[in-house]
Symmetry: C2
Subunit: 110 residues, 2 copies
């Protein structure tokens, strides 16, 4: 007897997920998460020097991570004098939440 198929073929999701994966990639570093958590909890903006002081990273590395967060538009920045101040983007959480919802939709009880 010939082997039967394993099962009715499942529909594999066809949505393009490259951009979503890219955003998760931005989140896939503990120091960037620390930066985001700090910015999310800050009353106001946070100076780059605070990160440089507090994180176990050299200044170019801090700057590198901030650029990745900027490019992903999860944070915004503003220079005042020699200093640069960062804020979390107002829609940062919603953007991540929306992606999570699109990948694993919340089951609503009927």
């Amino acid at each position: 007897m010939s082997m039967q198929r394993c099962c009715p073929p499942a529909r594999v999701d066809q949505a393009e997920r490259t951009a979503d994966a890219s955003l998760f990639k931005v989140l896939a570093d503990p120091h960037r998460l620390t930066m985001l958590a700090t910015l999310a909890r800050a009353e106001d903006e946070v100076c780059v020097c605070d990160f440089t002081d507090a994180l176990p990273l050299e200044q170019p590395t801090v700057s590198h991570h901030l650029k990745i967060l900027r490019d992903a538009r999860l944070v915004t920045c503003e220079r005042r004098g020699t200093w640069v101040y960062y804020r979390i983007a107002p829609d940062a959480r919603d953007r991540i939440g929306a992606i999570l919802q699109s990948v694993i939709p919340e089951k609503v009880l009927v």
Copy 2:
């Protein structure tokens, strides 16, 4: 005049974020997101062969990605005969949502 400090020093978040970052790393690949999205939408379980058929990846690569999802306990699997069937872990969404909440807490309107 001497330059003043940039600002009252901000408290940089001290929580350990390595494990959180690791979970986001698991999500930081478009093919793994496709697998999760497929499993999340499946009525029931999904056979590995469906992924091998539908994704533009060779079988060892599919197996590699599934192992990463397994190790992160975002999916479970069960062998029946020659075939192996995967399911999304029941707490997958909640675990990711909890991390998002811990990094960027939702602002509750007062």
